[in-house]
Subunit: 353 residues, 3 copies
């Protein structure tokens, strides 16, 4: 499906963010991951696990049920399943058939995220998770916090496209975090297996509106803006602002240092999850920026949902006229398509409505 080849929906063999660790407490969480119902919960010892989110008895969502000890207990008729997916209790009978079970999914906590592997569990190697140092999460001078969890009414690739082309900062976020240089300064990109990097080094530019509002006029900045796409669904970004190297008083001094973490996880063909987190120099700065960043993320969601509606109006597969700045997004799409092609034909996760 657009923008991939017909029949291609999403890479299955990859780590996707299923949520923030901090959001998974004593209640389970229901998610739809690549078309599959999933329940996330914590065992008695706190270990997070992911199991099939559909009770095989009567199709009630286990993710809207409850947890007892190590088990998830269906809220409808009380059938319980362990973290290995095996049924542990059917309250209305004494014998539990060994065949009574639900799927399980590899789930690991890594950084501040819960990562799920919807594909073949044999391949679920934690070594394939994004490196926490490389993404800037492990930096001891920075403080990372979860910001927002959204379920968005658009195909996941529209959010990936958004993150793979930061020239949109200059327009979609013109009132907050963008300046024209985000579009005009040439982008540097580089590829390595499973990662696609993009950077813009902006020199001696007017500060972005959010800095101008806070600090007034009369100074210019150097900026480093970029995003590293860790396929299939994680983007680690950088947004650093310094006094311009030509500033008379404080040349090159840091003004605002940020790492941003965008995770995009396919839900249904036309919906996805969007998890956004931020690392700043201290927690109070992160909190101070929460409200403005909420608006910024809402603008990205607005654009993506509008595009989903437009795709629907155009019958599902609109033409596109590419421009040079699409190079990175096109690379990202190609890398995802290649991963899907390598997975070969799989059973279609979505039946006809």
């Amino acid at each position: 499906m657009y923008p991939f080849s017909e029949g291609s929906f999403a890479v299955r063999n990859g780590w996707y963010v299923a949520g923030f660790s901090a959001d998974l407490g004593s209640e389970p969480i229901a998610r739809t991951i690549l078309g599959m119902p999933v329940a996330l919960y914590r065992k008695a010892d706190g270990t997070a696990v992911a199991v099939g989110g559909r009770c095989p008895h009567r199709n009630f969502p286990l993710g809207k049920s409850c947890v007892k000890g190590d088990d998830i207990v269906c809220g409808y008729h009380g059938i319980a399943f362990g973290p290995d997916g095996k049924c542990t209790d059917i309250p209305s009978q004494k014998v539990v058939p060994g065949s009574y079970q639900i799927p399980t999914y590899p789930l690991v906590e890594h950084g501040m995220w819960l990562w799920i592997w919807p594909g073949d569990p044999e391949n679920a190697d934690p070594a394939k998770l994004p490196d926490l140092e490389a993404i800037g999460y492990a930096d001891p001078t920075m403080h990372a916090v979860p910001m927002f969890t959204h379920e968005v009414a658009c195909r996941y690739q529209l959010l990936n496209d958004n993150l793979l082309d930061l020239s949109h900062l200059a327009f979609l976020h013109a009132s907050s975090i963008g300046n024209l240089e985000n579009a005009t300064v040439p982008e540097e990109t580089s590829q390595e297996p499973g990662i696609l990097r993009s950077r813009r080094y902006i020199k001696d530019a007017p500060p972005i509106p959010s800095l101008r509002e806070r600090m007034g006029e009369g100074f210019r900045v150097d900026q480093v803006v970029g995003m590293d796409f860790y396929l299939p669904g994680f983007h680690a970004g950088i947004g650093d602002h310094f006094y311009s190297a030509s500033d008379p008083d404080r040349p090159g001094e840091a003004i605002q240092i940020s790492r941003v973490f965008h995770a995009v996880t396919p839900a249904t063909p036309t919906s996805c999850y969007y998890f956004f987190g931020l690392a700043s120099l201290d927690r109070s700065e992160a909190e101070a920026r929460r409200a403005r960043l909420a608006d910024v993320i809402d603008e990205d969601i607005f654009a993506s949902v509008e595009i989903e509606k437009m795709i629907g109006l155009m019958g599902g597969a609109p033409d596109e006229l590419m421009i040079k700045s699409d190079r990175n997004a096109v690379l990202g799409r190609r890398m995802l398509q290649a991963m899907m092609d390598a997975e070969g034909e799989e059973e279609e996760p979505f039946a006809a409505a």
Copy 2:
């Protein structure tokens, strides 16, 4: 369609509840019964009738129109139809063609309900209505009141499944009307033509939460809990609580005596009506229980709608893993399927969307 065989939607030749008698006043009511638009109204003498709910002139809903004398008058262009379905007036012309008419449906008031027969009118025998004594409605010591009318976004059988397996009381309603014994005490079922009965006789159990809240702790109860399914869409239930036979002070004394009446009527393939009524020893008791029962019914609706969504996510026909307590629900489904099979192929009431 799930959980019936492909092409099977609902039994047509049977009495279904179309509403509570008390809710049908001088205004008509619009319903969709087994995919057919229906208008319910009262003639001048108060007799309730059911006619096709679609004005054949311009497709305006007659159920959202008005009544004049014995006729229902389309709210759009004033075309009137009598309770026999024949057009009685076309305001813009003098001659009314004899062929200008709408369908009619057998409708009877029986107990506190309006019962409609969507199938062949020739078969609409009132003797096939549930017996008011047998269902506990006619008991002179009890006072029956309509409680709730809901249009629910799920296929009707999900509510029937709910009512055919009361082991769910132990979990879905664990905070109000269920105790674990609802799931663990063996169920006794029996069948006769058109009726499927289920009972649980619970002995010396802890009282359900709603009784504990009202009466405190320190006593145990005997319970009779059960449901009689009058196919195709009516469930008459019993929920009686007594001090345990081993209670030192009041052995076997009645605490709370209830008859519950659940009517489930197919609307569209994925929606239905749910009419709930209650009989208590007096009206004030019934009213006192209204708020809590609203929560209980909402839990049933929540579960059923969640399951409908899950069925949609699974492409319409999920697998099921049966357990022993499904015996009664499976019997109920089989009886319905047999009735549908006996009706043979009918024109599909729903065209492609």
Copy 3:
């Protein structure tokens, strides 16, 4: 599609109202016109133009973007297009390929409306616009004002059907602007190329409810009620009320003189725009009638949306039983069908959902 032949959706070669002139300011407006995304905006000199509403780069809606000078600038990545559809700026690159462009649509301001021509631009002759004198807009004694813009969840023809059969005033608007004579007095219709006229000359009738409320009882009226359908989507109506010619005191004296302007523009197969305007003897009278007319238009929308839902329930193509008063609506449908047939097969604007 109903009520036209299979495959027929709407006349493409015709002027449709896209909005009121007064509503198009410095911000663009997004519309869906016959299935096509369209952006309306004003150039620097105030000229209104219509261009394709989809940015060909990433499918963002240009109608939800912004205007700079003569150009519309995509809100996502800043790509700009001139009123001739040609790309004028791609901020992230220096060269703008000549092939980078969007469609344009003939748009003219005429009366108080913006008129768009969704078909072949070669045929977009302003001489085919409704004559402002003929429709009663240019009358110097009358004051015309825009009233309401609605996006309605029904196929456009249901609103046309409504306007082509004013016998509905007697019932749908019985509490406000209708009396029984609207249905019973014979209709006079006449046709000329592209126009279908209907009139009822009502003599010595009881005044409509809105006049009775304002002026009390004890008088009778003569009325002229009618509608001229300027195909494919504009209806100019008349609603004049006079003291009856037999009134003892003021025979034939005018009470209320109105011209009404209903424009109906197809959006998607099951939605449309409805623009309503009114001309009265003075502006204050028009404003005084705004609230009541809002209710009247809401009744028409209610009926049309209910019918759309009924059509859906009936599988898309319900039978109809015609009556004599349908003559005008049937003529209108036939004229539209003939225009569609003359346009021949075109690419289906809507792909499968």
